[in-house]
Each structure stands twice: as structure tokens, then as C-alpha cells.
Assembly symmetry: C2
Homo-oligomer: 296 residues x 2
């Protein structure tokens, strides 16, 4: 069997596990519209790349799988809240996501805003819970790291810059900096999660951070290329909208060829960072290849 | 000097301290629209009742004032984010707040959504920081307690119920339960903050929780009475809007007289809970009187 096919099967199995873990940590409640909307937003598919990275990072550092699964769910709550808010009419105004109506289309805008808020809040409740780690120092560090990755120095700040770029175009450096905040920061948290859970040393953390930075660029550029080149059917959402909106992307600025060259360079940098971990990092290497080559 | 006037002067001085603490923990950044909007939303006045309660609770339990001030700022970030999101067109659609344009009127909707998200996230970054307490167990407990108070079991859930009540009217019990989540939960966190900082015993925590529940009801009913009886000028925002929208309030359901009777009963319960703390709780007693009698 082709190695990439094998990896995709592994990823699908991990996604199913992540789905189950999210459902467990966000249980159904009778007659609770807000909880329903939170579950609608957080469940129902996706590649679950961030939970996968948390689990791989945890395995690499020998952290417990049950603890790591809780961190993975917390991170996915943050990712899903950001999708709900980004899809709102005042932001990207998207009607479809993963082949289903977006949360504000399925419910209404007020419910979607609140569901996003509550998912973000839930992430920190999960991390702070003693079940996530017996040592409160590990829990507090996870909270601090996720808050930094998700806040105005990270994801929220990147989203703001992305919106501003629609009217004040960014250069290549500006695009990479914006994307490092908007999507890169959560990837970095995911890859560092295992190191934080076991309180790994500085050099191990640095290596994972370098890997995650490269992976983030590769993932984002591939995503931007896909948006330009794919059909709406394959994406499960509208295609070609980035260019239509004048969104800042590397392919739009420097062309697909030059963007692929950046991907190749970042892939090399990320692979080099994994060398110290040897065979144990094999799946992370495959994730890098997968991110570069994916078609949906 | 009248005791209530003296208390109001004390409260105003504390509010100025809270304002300075927020500005310190949310410093200005050049050419950063998101940070600007976060500061706009979090600074610029208000009675700062929640920070006051955190500082009083900390003093009562002998927690450090510098640590408590950070908790107070974190809580106020959560309160202010909730105001920003509640004011959005899809929610309460308010143009004015504290005599100034609401954040989405001053900036735009997308920026207001992101500023709210980033303020909420910032709250947890502040609590998780070692500067908030040297013991990570105290930090982790603060994070968990604030997340519970702010999430779908607390503030967000209460806001959802409040919206639903516009079309499916609540009875008295339902209104009190909704308000205990929507506004009560943050008051409870504020009053418990000192107990968490010093890891106080169960009975002390229970007493503060009972006090906070009473205070929350008194504050909310007084707020609802004010909305019905005050002018827009005195409130710094539109008056009488609750009734116009069909919002669920106790005065609207049972009448002003019966609502005042509930306030009196809750005041008694809250005062009784403070008895164990003797003279040290004097200002909390005054806060209760203040909440019941305020005129703006």
C-alpha cells in the first residue's frame, strides 16, 4: 500500500477518535439550544489535523494519551469557535462549511456568536480541569500557551490583519507574518502540547516550534492553492472566494510556482527540525508531506 | 458625611485603580487596530463593581493586592467582552454604551467580534501567568472557575436563555435562574476570587457564594427597575428598551413592588451570609446597600 494512502487512513482513524472525544467532553443536553449549537459547530467532521498533531506530539514525548486527548479537544474547540465567528456575515459571510450550513445559517447569528464564545470558554475549562493533568503547573502552562496562541498576538490578531489586508495589501513578509498568527499559532500550540505535558527541555521545544512553523506555512499555502484551483464540490465550501474578496495569499501575490518554492523550502526546514527525534517523528514527517500534497 | 456617599467615593477611587490596572495589562500598541478596539471596549469607565468585589474579597481573605488586581482585570476583560458582543446588531443592537458609541459603532462589526474574542482570551492569559500567583494550583483553579462562570453553564448560557425568553416567556423562577447565569455567575466568581487565591476552606467559600448570589439578584433587579424608570441621559444608554423588546425581567413580570420585596429578601440572606466575617465584611455590606439603592 502506498505510504501516503496508509497515512490518510491513519489520519481518518485519528479524526474519528477526535470526534468521539469532542462528543464526550461536550455531551448532549436536553432542550439546550446553546449546547446544541456548540456541538453542531464542533462536531460533524473535518480532518482534525490539530488534534492529530497534539496526539503525535504527546506520543513523541511520552505524555499520556487520555491527557493529550483532552488537550486536543480544547484546541479543536478553539479552532471551531474561530470558524463559527469567521463565517459570520460581518466577517467572511459564508453559508456553507464542510458541506453543511454554517452555524449562523443553521441557527441564527446571535446563537452562532454565543456558541463561538462558549466554545472558546469551554476550551479553558477543559485545560484547567485536574483530569487534564495531575500537576497544576502543566495545566496552567497549557492555558497560558493556548491563550497566547489564540489571542491578539496569535489567531485573533492574524484574523484582524487578514481583514485589513483586503484594503491595505500586504507584501510577502506581511502575508507570512499574518498567516503565522492566523493559522500558524494553533499549529504551534498543537505541536508543543506534548512537550508542555511532560515539561520537556528548551531544545526539544525549540525543535517542535520550528517544525510547527514550517508545517503551518506549508498547510496555509497549500490551502490557498486549493482555494484557487479546486471546485466547490471538492472543498465542501465555496471555492475561489479568496481571490474574489482580495484576500492576501502568497499564490495570489507571487504566483503558484513561487508559492510552491516557499513550500519546498519550509518543508526542508521543518524536516530538519525533526531530525533529533529520529524514527519517532515519522508520522509528523508524513503529516508534512500530506499537508503539501492534499487535494481537499 | 453620609455613609453611602462615603462608600460611593471609595467605589469611585477603586474604579480609577481598576481603570489603571486594565490599561497596564492591556498596554497600547502602535498601529494595532485590534488592540485599540480591545482598549476602547475595556477602558473608558463604568462602576467597575466586579473588580471592586474581587479586591474586597481578596482583602477579606488576606490575599495580595497585586495578585488580586490581576484577577480583577481578567474578570473585567470577560465582562467587557460580553458587553461588546451583546451590543452587536445580531444581539441587542445597541448604539451607545456608557455615553459613547458601542465598539461596533466606533469600529465595525468584524473588529468588535474579534475584540470581544481577544478580550475573553486575554483574561485567561492573565490568570495563567505566574505573576497572578506563585502557586500554579491557585492559577489553574482561577482559570477553571472563571471559565465555568463565563461559559454555557454561566454567562453565555444565561444570555442564550435571555434571548429565548423574548419569544418563550419565563416564569419568576425561570427569570431568576436565567439572571443567576447571565449576571450572577460573574458576581460569584468575583466574590470567590479572594477565597481561591488563599485556598480558603469550604465554609468560607460557601458563605461568599451565598452572599454573591444575593448580591447578584439585588443588582439585577435594581438594574431592571432602573431601565424602566430612568432617563437615557442618566443611564448613558437607551432606557426602557427591555420592556420594548419584551425582555424577561422580574419587575415586568411581577411588578415593581413585588420585585422590591424579592430584593429585600435577598438582601437579608446576603447579609446573613456575611455575619461570620464580622467587621471585615463592612464594605461588602455597603455594596449590597449600594446595589439596591443606586440611581444610575
Amino acid at each position: 500500500m502506498n505510504r501516503m494512502v496508509e497515512f490518510e487512513q491513519f489520519l481518518a482513524a485519528r479524526a474519528a477518535e477526535a470526534e468521539a472525544a469532542i462528543a464526550r467532553l461536550l455531551p448532549e443536553r436536553p432542550a439546550d439550544r446553546l449546547r446544541d449549537a456548540m456541538r453542531y459547530a464542533a462536531l460533524g467532521g473535518g480532518k482534525r489535523l490539530r488534534p492529530f498533531l497534539v496526539m503525535e506530539s504527546a506520543a513523541l514525548f511520552g505524555a499520556g494519551a487520555d491527557e493529550a486527548a483532552r488537550v486536543a479537544v480544547a484546541l479543536e474547540c478553539v479552532h471551531c469557535y474561530s470558524l463559527v465567528h469567521d463565517d459570520l456575515p460581518a466577517m467572511d459571510d459564508d453559508d456553507m462549511r464542510r458541506g453543511r450550513p454554517t452555524t449562523h445559517r443553521q441557527y441564527d447569528e446571535a446563537t452562532a456568536i454565543l456558541a463561538g464564545d462558549a466554545l472558546l470558554t469551554h476550551a479553558f475549562a477543559i485545560l484547567a480541569d485536574p483530569l487534564t493533568h495531575t500537576d497544576p503547573a502543566r495545566r496552567a502552562e497549557l492555558v497560558g500557551a493556548l491563550a497566547t496562541a489564540a489571542g491578539d498576538d496569535g489567531m485573533c490578531g492574524g484574523q484582524m490583519r487578514d481583514i485589513q489586508a483586503e484594503t491595505a495589501p500586504l507584501d510577502e513578509k506581511g502575508i507570512l507574518a499574518m498567516q503565522a498568527m492566523k493559522t500558524g499559532a494553533l499549529f504551534r500550540f498543537a505541536c508543543l502540547a506534548g512537550a508542555i505535558l511532560v515539561d520537556a527541555g528548551r531544545e526539544d521545544r525549540q525543535a517542535m516550534d520550528t517544525f510547527a512553523r514550517g508545517l503551518g506555512v506549508v498547510f496555509q499555502v497549500a490551502d490557498d492553492l486549493l482555494d484557487e484551483e479546486s471546485s466547490a464540490e471538492a472543498l465542501g465550501k465555496a471555492a475561489g472566494k479568496d481571490r474574489e474578496r482580495g484576500k492576501a495569499t502568497l499564490p495570489a501575490l507571487v504566483g503558484a510556482g513561487a508559492a510552491r518554492a516557499v513550500m519546498a523550502e519550509e518543508t526542508g526546514r521543518a524536516e530538519a527540525a525533526l531530525e533529533r527525534f529520529g524514527e519517532r517523528a515519522q508520522r509528523l514527517r508524513q503529516a508534512l508531506q500530506f499537508a503539501a500534497r492534499r487535494r481537499s
